[in-house]
């Protein structure tokens, strides 16, 4: 039995290593400082994904700013007070939203914001990503918060702490590593999303920091490079993929590091 599970583990890990290795192999040749800072240029003139990196980080930052706190709040609510009918409905909605294809969020935000305003925008892209993040963070937070032992809550209640302080001071800190994992999952998920951004942030060939203008992003840029007929652009798509994966890895490590078990 042990050898069987070990074999399965080995199989899965080797596939993962194979994918990462192949991406690195294909992508590393086109990587350069220019590639990381320049904006896309016509074929044969070089160009890079600088604006897409910045765009992705801005989109992700805005989405996280809204999606993660909201998700944590809803998840905590479900775990602590969500035993009634309202909690059941919220939980059902969150579960359903996790299963919804991401392009649906894109179309929804397109109808809700882009059509109303009349232009593609960073704001719309961030909203679409935040909507994807919320249910993921919500459900992981709920599961983790529920795992905090009852005895720990009772210990705080017995000292005269009101319920909300028990949640804030004891339960959430005890659950923070797990909550961070949930947030990480959500970040990794949306950082690689292309579909919801096609209808919302759209993409751009320039550096941009404005919320009311179209915004470049790495997945969309990779998509554009990859569907082109040019060999050179294909190489760029590989390189951009490598950068994207590295970025996710870096964010993952830093979140892990900053929320590692203090106590």
């Amino acid at each position: 039995m042990t050898s069987l599970t070990a074999l399965c583990t080995l199989g899965v890990i080797s596939i993962l290593i194979l994918i990462l290795g192949y991406i690195s192999y294909q992508g590393i040749t086109s990587l350069s400082w220019q590639f990381l800072v320049e904006t896309p240029k016509p074929v044969g003139e070089g160009g890079g994904i600088g604006n897409a990196i910045v765009g992705s980080l801005i989109l992700l930052g805005l989405a996280s700013l809204v999606g993660i706190p909201l998700g944590i709040a809803i998840g905590t609510y479900l775990a602590e007070l969500g035993s009634g009918w309202f909690g059941t409905i919220v939980r059902f909605v969150a579960d359903s939203l996790i299963g919804v294809p991401s392009i649906v969020f894109g179309v929804f935000v397109y109808a809700l914001i882009v059509l109303q305003q009349g232009y593609f925008s960073t704001l719309a892209g961030s909203v679409a990503l935040a909507l994807i993040m919320i249910p993921i963070v919500t459900r992981t937070t709920e599961e983790i918060v529920k795992l905090v032992p009852k005895s720990m809550r009772e210990g705080a209640l017995a000292l005269g702490a009101p319920e909300w302080r028990v949640t804030w001071d004891i339960v959430l800190p005890a659950a923070k590593t797990g909550i961070a994992t949930g947030a990480m999952l959500a970040i990794a998920r949306v950082l690689g999303e292309t579909a919801p951004l096609l209808f919302t942030a759209f993409g751009s060939r320039f550096y941009n920091i404005y919320l009311d203008e179209p915004m470049a992003s790495m997945p969309v840029q990779i998509y554009n490079y990859a569907i082109s007929p040019f060999e050179e652009w294909h190489a760029k798509a590989w390189a951009a993929t490598l950068v994207l994966i590295t970025l996710i890895l870096l964010i993952n490590i830093s979140v892990r590091y900053s929320t590692r078990k203090g106590y």
């Binding site: 035993s83 032992p149 005895s151 720990m152 809550r153 009772e154 210990g155 705080a156 209640l157 017995a158 000292l159 005269g160 702490a161 009101p162 302080r165 001071d169 004891i170 800190p173 005890a174 203090g262 106590y263």
Partner: protein, 251 residues
């Protein structure tokens, strides 16, 4: 007047009645032990004294629990203030995921008992001394509470409970998960604490009840069978059932 006066207390988990017409008086600065077989209601009764059962949905209390003459189940009772006055130590040590210092200071801070930082440190030290833990942890107050041994963790929880200056301390089998040496320390501590606090201790260990308590209450099937001075209870109990239990004929 008794510190705690209970009369005709019934308690229900949903429809199941867990306590039947309990009445007893607990004098100040005494140690009272609750003994009885598992599921007899002694822990449930203990938890009615600081309304800890409020946290369990569907529970209901009838009857009267007076602490210093005030009915704690009245609508106007401030549960937070009650729990500050009636501290609790649990069966399994349950330190917070914080440092040793922060564990003890938590209750002081949420209740805003202290005046300034120096006072806070003084209070933490005093609580740890009262729990006979100070000498073992004074050099590592800022390290994790989970680094302590089981016995030390339990004494930390006692220190935490003492830090908010309760008048009554409820202990729910505080030594049941500890080895004999750690148990002895807790027992010595209980006798020591009697000077300043009224202590109620639930225990499965008859010898422990005999060693530490002034009075003993014997519960069975949710009823209070006998409540007497401990020396009388263990030498010449009034009830046949008590004698059978204490001599180990059942339970």
């Amino acid at each position: 007047m008794s510190k705690i006066s209970v009369s005709n207390l019934d308690f229900y988990y949903g429809k199941a009645q867990a306590l039947h017409a309990i009445s007893l008086e607990i004098p100040q600065n005494e140690v009272v032990a609750f003994i009885g077989p598992s599921g007899c209601g002694k822990s449930t009764f203990l938890r009615t004294l600081n309304r800890m059962n409020d946290t369990i949905p569907g529970t209901r209390v009838e009857g009267e629990v007076l602490i210093d003459g005030n009915d704690i189940n009245e609508q106007k009772t401030d549960v937070v203030a009650l729990r500050r006055k009636v501290g609790m130590v649990f069966q399994k040590s349950n330190p917070f995921p914080k440092s040793i210092f922060d564990n003890v200071s938590y209750g002081i801070q949420i209740n805003q008992i202290h005046k300034g930082k120096a006072d806070l440190q003084g209070r933490v030290e005093k609580a740890l001394r009262n729990a006979a833990l100070w000498d073992e942890v004074k050099d590592r107050l800022n390290t994790s509470a989970f680094g302590l041994s089981g016995g030390q963790q339990q004494r930390l929880c006692i220190a935490r409970a003492l830090a908010v200056e309760p008048e009554i301390v409820l202990m729910d089998e505080p030594a049941s998960a500890l080895d004999p040496a750690a148990t002895q320390k807790i027992e010595e501590l209980v006798v020591e604490l009697k000077r300043d606090y009224t202590i109620i201790i639930v225990t499965h260990n008859m010898q422990q009840a005999a060693r530490v308590s002034d009075r003993t209450a014997f519960f069975m099937l949710g009823k209070l069978v006998e409540y007497n001075r401990t020396d009388k209870m263990f030498t010449n109990p009034d009830e046949k059932l008590t004698e059978d239990y204490i001599t180990g004929r059942f339970g």
